[in-house]
Every structure is written in structure tokens, then in C-alpha cells.
Amino acid sequence: MNELLSNIIYFLIAVLFVFGLYGMLDKRNFMKKLMAMNIMQISVIIFFLALGQKLDATLPILVHGLEGVDQYVNPLPHALMLTAIVVSLSTTGVALALLLRIQDRYEDLEEPEILRGMDK
């Protein structure tokens, strides 16, 4: 039962990742591509947090009376993903700025329109 549950979590993460990848491959609108890329990022973050989990453990803040390695979840993925979230925020800002520039230049965000505008 436990095995099945944990595999279901990994399957859901894989489904989220593939949703993002499919969106980036298939959608023609650059804004939708950016949203799909963010979905992929979130799936990777959830994957890291899932790897750091421990059964019957509490969050990694030391309290009195709880000693022992098995009482706290692994703090390392939390620290890494905390910075990853903020970096993804700022890179999304840069991507949105680039999209605004494309919108100014070609007056559209659809890929065929932009390719047609490049040929002119």
C-alpha cells in the first residue's frame, strides 16, 4: 500500500512535468509557452521536496524534547528549493519583459505571426 501511494505521487509529478513539456512543444502562443515552462519548474520543485520527506517526521526546526535524525525532515531540499522559487520568480519577470518587447515589435505573440513578421 505504501509503495503504491509513493509511486502515485511520483506519477503525478511526472504527469505535471509532461503537461508542461507538452505545452511548450505544442502551444503557439509565447505566453502559454511561458506558463507551461513555469508548470515544469513547479513539478521539479515538488519532486525535490518529495525526496526530502520522512515518515512521522516534523518540519526542520529544532524543538526541545525532539532529538534524533529521524524526527526531522531533510532540510537540504527545502533550502535549495527556497532559492529556486525566488530565482524562478525573477526569471519569469525577465521572460515577461522580453514578451512585452516582442509584443511591441511584432504586435502579436503567436509564433506564425512572428515568423511572418521576421520575413518582412
Binding site: 526546526i61 527556497l82 522559487i85 525566488v86 520568480l89 525573477s90 519577470g93 515577461l96 512585452l100
Partner: protein, 144 residues
């Protein structure tokens, strides 16, 4: 653009919310070593206070920060962080080794102090960057 959503309810509600958000941000920063929190979250909260004001009151918000000021603040935050690292080297320790801070304290008290200093730097940096990105993305072309 005067108050695009300027209804009484929004205007009153955000006036009550913004001070609490800012106080909570400072609490998350200063208490980040003993409870969930830290520099990144505190920076996001402090930035949200400014962004919320801009969202409700539009471009004529009273409680506002220009994008240039915000990015200068972000640079200052990064400078605080890197400057502490260089200072610890000058004081004879390793890079970012907080035990080298020349105060008459035990190393067990110096290290939380160093952590707090760099968390303040991270907070200012994240706050400035979020406000700067919001300001740049919502800026109109004619008011630079």
C-alpha cells in the same frame, strides 16, 4: 488613471491590510531563525505591501516606490551581503565566516548575528527586485 478599482470597500480594506502585512514581514525576517521564515519570504511580504497599494490605488498611489529606487535598494541589499563576506576576510576569517566579526561575543552569538545581517541584505534585495519587476512591467511608455 485615477483609481481604476476605487471602490470604498477595496480602499478601506487595503488600508487595514498593508500595515499588518509589513509588520508580519519584519516579524518573519527577525524571527526567521526560530520559526519558519527568512530573508526571501520577508522580502516577498514587504514587496507585496507596496504592490498591493499600487494594485488598488493605481499609479497615483501615496505609498509608492519607483522602479529606479527599488533596483538601487536591491543593489544595496546584495552589497550588504557581499560586503559582509569581504569584511570577514579582512577581519581574518574565511569568506562569510561570521565567527571572525570583531565583537566581544562568543562565536555562538556571533553566527546568528551574521546570519541576521545577510538575511537583511537578502530581504532588501528580494523586496527591491519584486517591486522593480512589477513597476517595469506595468509602466506605460510615456512616463519614463
Amino acid at each position: 488613471m485615477n483609481r481604476p478599482f476605487g471602490t470604498t470597500i477595496l480602499d478601506t480594506a487595503f488600508r487595514y491590510m498593508v500595515p499588518f502585512i509589513m509588520v508580519y514581514g519584519v516579524y518573519v525576517l527577525l524571527h526567521g531563525e526560530y520559526s519558519p521564515g527568512g530573508g526571501f519570504q520577508a522580502g516577498a511580504l514587504l514587496a507585496i505591501a507596496v504592490v498591493l497599494t499600487r494594485l488598488v490605488q493605481g499609479r497615483e498611489a501615496v505609498f509608492d516606490m519607483k522602479g529606479d529606487t527599488a533596483i538601487i535598494l536591491a543593489g544595496l541589499g546584495t552589497l550588504i551581503y557581499a560586503g559582509l563576506g569581504v569584511l570577514t576576510v579582512i577581519w581574518g576569517g574565511n569568506f562569510l565566516d561570521y565567527a571572525a566579526i570583531p565583537l566581544d561575543l562568543h562565536a555562538k552569538e556571533l553566527r546568528p548575528l551574521g546570519i541576521l545581517v545577510i538575511e537583511v541584505g537578502v530581504t532588501i534585495c528580494v523586496m527591491g527586485v519584486i517591486i522593480a519587476i512589477y513597476d517595469a512591467l506595468t509602466r506605460k511608455d510615456d512616463d519614463i
